[in-house]
């Protein structure tokens, strides 16, 4: 067995936990699974128990939304104990085949979707896209996200972004062929060493461009670069922040009307983890004719859609309603025409939920870039 049971106590500061239960109290998945993260923090103090704890299926229910970390009065990160337990299985090679395939794919092909690395820039075909070169300074270096690159449902977001950047005459360039997975999900799936390897390689790559800022489409890449890549030179932004700037500086204007009721779902990795609440709302507020409504559970209380934390590759055993379905129901109850989000994982899970609930005729799930891409003057 090539297992090395980490000293969890040290790594996750387990003795710092006062067992107050605010973590479990805020954990969104507790309504539908057995996951009790408070107990895991406590039980993991016993090194001999770690192997058994790692075998419990509920450790895979965690979405890494980080509500627990946000709420912890001692500044601990309970979710990382779960990630650490996942790491034990990773080191033994005993992860679910779907997880195995995603991790192997990140390692070999630089994306978790088993797509050939050589096809990374295929999405650019037919578009007028500026690609970065290390010799030329650029203000905004755009980092796409593997899911946006490869999944047709969300590929429209980057295509629209290109339209917008060209129209607003922004100084931008895309990373291009060498772009590789930010590996945020590799970290969340417990493959720490793969994550560290990707951090090293990606940092070198991104620093090789003379870029002032790195702009990401996915909040997961955004969060990873901002919080988990210590040596990046450039400032890290989410695209909603860039679009917000363009709108404020009047470099971009939405000229077409969209008289619809829009409710914005705060993605966990953008909102509660990084406090980016206002910019997406500002962008939506600039849409002529649109009425913005709010979920009761909005901003830092946003209900996780269960797209992150490796959940795109692991199913829960729970028979209870998915959180995304609850969210869709809530949007529907608000009378929303559009359930908007600014994250590819949110879009995919909410879209699935929309279909499962049968609301496709009454409501749409749309990425902000999907909505605004159609609102520009020709």
């Amino acid at each position: 067995m090539n297992t090395e049971l980490q000293n969890f106590i040290e790594k996750y500061d387990l003795y710092g936990c006062i067992q107050c239960g605010r973590c479990t109290g805020g954990c969104p998945v507790t309504v539908r699974t057995n996951l009790n993260v408070r107990r895991f923090v406590y039980d993991s103090i016993d090194e001999d128990a770690l192997e058994e704890l790692a075998k419990l299926p509920e450790i895979w229910d965690c979405t890494a939304c980080s509500t627990c970390a946000v709420r912890c009065p001692k500044g601990l990160k309970p979710l990382e104990v779960l990630i650490g337990l996942r790491g034990i299985l990773v080191l033994e090679g005993q992860v679910e085949p779907t997880v195995r395939d995603a991790l192997e794919s990140i390692f070999r092909e630089g994306n978790p979707w088993s797509k050939a690395r050589a096809t990374r820039s295929d999405w650019m075909e037919g578009l007028d896209v500026k690609v970065a070169d290390p010799e030329t300074e650029v203000e905004n270096l755009i980092f796409v996200c593997c899911t946006v690159v490869y999944d047709p449902r969300v590929q429209v977001t980057v295509k629209n972004l290109v339209k917008i950047l060209n129209k607003a005459d922004v100084d931008y360039a895309f990373v291009g062929d060498d772009e590789s997975c930010c590996a945020s999900e590799a970290f969340n799936l417990g493959e720490e060493e793969l994550f560290e390897m990707m951090v090293e390689d990606n940092t070198e790559l991104l620093n090789s461009f003379k870029a002032k800022r790195i702009v990401t489409i996915s909040p997961h890449c955004f969060n990873a670069f901002k919080k988990q890549y210590p040596d990046l030179k450039a400032e890290v932004l989410h695209y909603t922040q860039l679009i917000g700037e363009l709108l404020e500086d009047k470099k971009l204007e939405f000229t077409k009307e969209l008289p619809q009721k829009i409710v914005f779902h705060d993605p966990c990795f953008l909102g509660k983890q990084n406090d980016v609440y206002d910019e997406p709302r500002f962008v939506l507020s600039q849409i002529p004719g649109a009425e913005l409504v709010e979920f009761e559970r909005n901003k830092e209380r946003s209900l996780c859609c269960e797209g992150g934390g490796g959940k795109m590759w692991v199913e829960s055993d729970s028979k209870l309603e998915r959180l995304a379905e609850t969210r869709v129901k809530d949007a529907h109850a608000l009378g929303a025409d559009v359930l908007a989000a600014a994250c590819p994982f949110c879009i995919l899970t909410l879209d699935d939920a929309l279909k499962a609930k049968g609301f496709e005729e009454e409501m749409k799930v749309s990425e902000i870039l999907e909505i605004i891409g159609d609102l520009l003057e020709e």
Binding site: N2, V90, L91, E92, G93, Q94, V95, P97, V99, R100, L103, E104, F107, R108, E109, S114, K115, A116, R117, A118, T119, E191, E193, L194, M197
Partner: protein, 262 residues
């Protein structure tokens, strides 16, 4: 139980567009992603599971270029003990019988009980190397194995036949088994394991090291010859069936039955 497992590096062409190159005897692989042949991956897992249950060693064997080293390290990370890679441009990969000769030369002087190979390769689909290897080594074999039960000096192999039936055979060791996909669930090779596997032995050999002459395995001495590759004419991807709904259903049913789809 000392086991050899033969692995091959192949492209993943399930989604890629495949184009024949200018030589007409190969394809343009510039956009492919490469990895271990699927069936061989199952064979590696089976070999490691046998080692975990019975003790012994697993040696990984590969005919291929340096690019195959990462794949071999991943196999070592999963539980292989050492590896040999035979890297020689003179090996003729379009003749499975010659590839088998090369593998046999690498194995025959060694101590071993079992040789596992995948039952087919995702690229050429020959389904011949493993069984030919057994014949070269002069040992019994079983092909398309879905389950392996090791006993003293012999092995019970469940062969997968058409229609979901299994044929159980008992063969004496040493033997060759060609492994069918789905026999087990291959484990994940963690990055840490792959790093540690860098310390395991990976010998790179040429034909001369194996004591085979070029004549035995080169294109010239092969009894078959690949004349050319070409892309078969394919009708546009989806044949859209027309008519009223019930008509469409009937037409489809006929296609399914007459076209041998079911």
């Amino acid at each position: 139980m000392n086991t050899f497992v033969c692995v091959k590096r192949v492209p993943d062409t399930s989604e890629a567009e495949v184009k024949v190159d200018a030589t007409e005897k190969d394809v343009d692989s510039s956009k492919f992603s490469f990895d271990i042949n699927d069936a061989d991956n199952y064979a590696v897992e089976e070999a490691v599971q046998i080692k975990e249950a019975q003790g012994g060693t697993v040696q990984v064997l590969c005919c291929g270029p340096q690019d195959a080293d990462m794949m071999i390290r991943m196999a070592l990370a999963k539980g292989g003990d050492s590896a040999m890679r035979i890297d020689d441009p003179r090996i003729n990969f379009s003749d499975p019988l010659q590839v088998a000769k090369v593998l046999a030369a690498a194995i025959k002087e060694q101590e071993y009980d079992l040789v596992l190979t995948g039952c087919w390769a995702d690229d050429d689909g020959f389904m011949a190397v493993g069984v030919a290897l057994a014949e070269e080594l002069g040992i019994p074999h079983a092909a398309m194995v879905k389950k392996v039960e090791v006993e003293d000096g012999k092995v019970k192999a469940h062969r997968e036949l058409e229609g979901g039936i299994s044929e159980v055979v008992e063969i004496t060791l040493p033997a060759v088994l060609t492994i069918q996909t789905g026999i087990n669930e291959p484990r994940y090779a963690p990055i840490r394991g792959i790093r540690q596997a860098q310390k395991k032995e990976l010998k790179v050999l040429k034909l001369d090291d194996l004591g085979i002459s070029e004549e035995e395995v080169s294109e010239d001495s092969s009894l078959i010859e690949l004349k050319r590759f070409y892309i078969p004419e394919v009708e546009s991807k989806a044949e859209i069936i027309e008519g009223e709904p019930e008509e469409k259903a009937e037409k489809l049913a006929e296609k399914m039955v007459k076209g041998g789809l079911i």
